[in-house]
């Protein structure tokens, strides 16, 4: 049984996804991998890779977040004085200090009666950030929380690593979370297991192992991938087995708490590590694949915590403006962390994609 959360009178009122303008096709990078062209094409087909969006060198999380928030302010979709908190979930902070959310605050010139916080979370970052936002909204002084899920991890992935490079994506998503007059209940579950903390990691660059010329040295692993200690590394088999083992029972538990049947849920909007893993998960849970969209990685790449809001913007789009859906959102990965929330999603003021 997981750690349970319940909230009332709270809602997501808008989702804006900011994607890099630069799009790279799988074929353009195939030559970097220590794999024959035929095998690379087999990899592409099996895992569902196609193209991904990655930032130009030098683009940071605050650039994309500020671009998105300014868009909302300029379009009249958000007012500065309504923002009570900036919650940024990222693995790509600009510095160890100060927090990147404070940098964003400064660039936007917001009021000082505000809370800025950075949360270090990955693939589960949307649900973790949402729980934090709902908790903040329990305070009467908090009007709107701007939840930002932003990462530019492509800059930490080796171009010669076919485990991670074809699927990595960059994105910044801005989700407005606020109180609602509607009393509908939100149920959520969170689980963590730090014994699996190193299943996904960037070994060097922190206080424990500062980056040096030695940590930047590219080395070949047993599968023929080249990466350095400064690069992101993932134990694919551990992550796969973890997802298949832990996610189905967690969703079952959540639906039981919510008093809902699996087919009462209109959409299962899950984090998307890659199409292969998500389809296997849908099959194992007995959920029709059309209820669990798996097309984010093939179109944009996996941008960690941004993948669920990107999924909302891309797959629900304008339909989420006029309609209300019962959704189950689930994020899982780094930490190891596995989380899920069951709630209504709809009547949004905006839900779209812009480019930076």
């Amino acid at each position: 049984m997981g750690l349970r959360f319940t909230f009332q009178n709270k809602r997501i009122s808008g989702v804006l996804t900011v994607l890099p303008k630069r799009e790279v096709a799988f074929e353009e990078e195939m030559g970097n991998y220590n794999f024959s062209a035929a095998k690379s094409m087999k990899l592409k087909l099996a895992m569902g890779y196609n193209k991904h969006r990655i930032v130009d060198e030098g683009t940071n999380v605050s650039d994309m977040c500020v671009h998105g928030i300014e868009h909302l302010l300029n379009e009249g979709l958000l007012r500065k004085e309504d923002i009570s908190a900036l919650v940024l979930v990222t693995q790509s902070p600009e510095h160890f200090m100060p927090p990147t959310s404070n940098i964003i605050h400064g660039k936007l010139g917001l009021n000082t009666n505000i809370l800025c916080m950075d949360i270090n979370q990955g693939c589960a970052g949307f649900v973790i950030g949402l729980l934090q936002s709902y908790m903040l909204l329990e305070q009467p002084s908090i009007k709107k929380v701007l939840l930002m899920n932003a990462d530019v991890l492509s800059r930490k992935v080796s171009k010669r690593d076919r485990n991670s490079n074809p699927l990595i994506g960059d994105a910044a998503c801005i989700t407005v979370v606020e109180r609602s007059v509607d009393a509908c209940v939100i149920n959520a579950i969170a689980n963590m297991d730090g014994r699996g903390a190193y299943a996904l990691q960037i070994p060097a660059g922190g206080f424990k192992m500062p980056s040096t010329p030695a940590t930047a040295e590219m080395k070949e692993d047993e599968s023929g991938n080249f990466r350095s200690l400064d690069n992101l590394v993932m134990k694919g088999d551990e992550v796969f087995n973890f997802v298949q083992t832990e996610i189905p029972p967690m969703i079952e538990e959540l639906l039981k708490i919510s008093g809902k049947a699996a087919n009462d849920i209109d959409y299962y909007l899950f984090h998307q590590p890659n199409k292969f893993m998500l389809n296997k998960l849908a099959d194992k849970m007995g959920i029709p694949r059309e209820k669990m969209p798996s097309n984010i990685v093939e179109n944009f790449g996996n941008a960690s915590g941004a993948s669920i809001p990107t999924n909302i913007s891309f797959n629900l789009g304008d339909n989420a403006l006029a309609n209300i859906y019962n959704v189950c959102l689930s994020g899982f990965g780094l930490g190891l962390t596995w989380t899920a929330v069951e709630q209504q999603l709809g009547n949004l003021s905006f839900n779209k994609i812009v480019y930076y």
């Binding site: 794999f35 095998k39 087999k42 990899l43 099996a46 895992m47 076919r162 485990n163 599968s223 134990k235 694919g236 088999d237 551990e238 796969f240 087995n241 298949q244 083992t245 292969f276 296997k280 099959d283 194992k284």
Partner: protein
């Protein structure tokens, strides 16, 4: 075992495979094939095998015993 051999032949892209065949010797033996076997074990047999366990299984027969032993 018969059915298992057929399924392995499909994953390994061979017409047929034998229990004594060494996994590493297959043309198709790469990280993607290994993931396919882990996924096959999870999906078809309902068991979890790790990349390290798979590495210790030298032959088709050893792989069969690894999966059967976990059922």
């Amino acid at each position: 075992m018969e059915k298992f051999l057929e399924q392995m032949a499909e994953i390994l892209e061979e017409d047929t495979v034998s229990p004594a065949d060494v996994l590493m010797d297959f043309e198709a033996w790469d990280s993607l094939t290994r993931l396919s076997i882990i996924a096959f074990a999870s999906e078809t047999c309902g068991v979890t095998i790790s990349a390290a366990e798979l590495k210790n299984a030298e032959t088709i027969e050893a792989l069969y015993k690894l999966i059967e032993g976990k059922k």
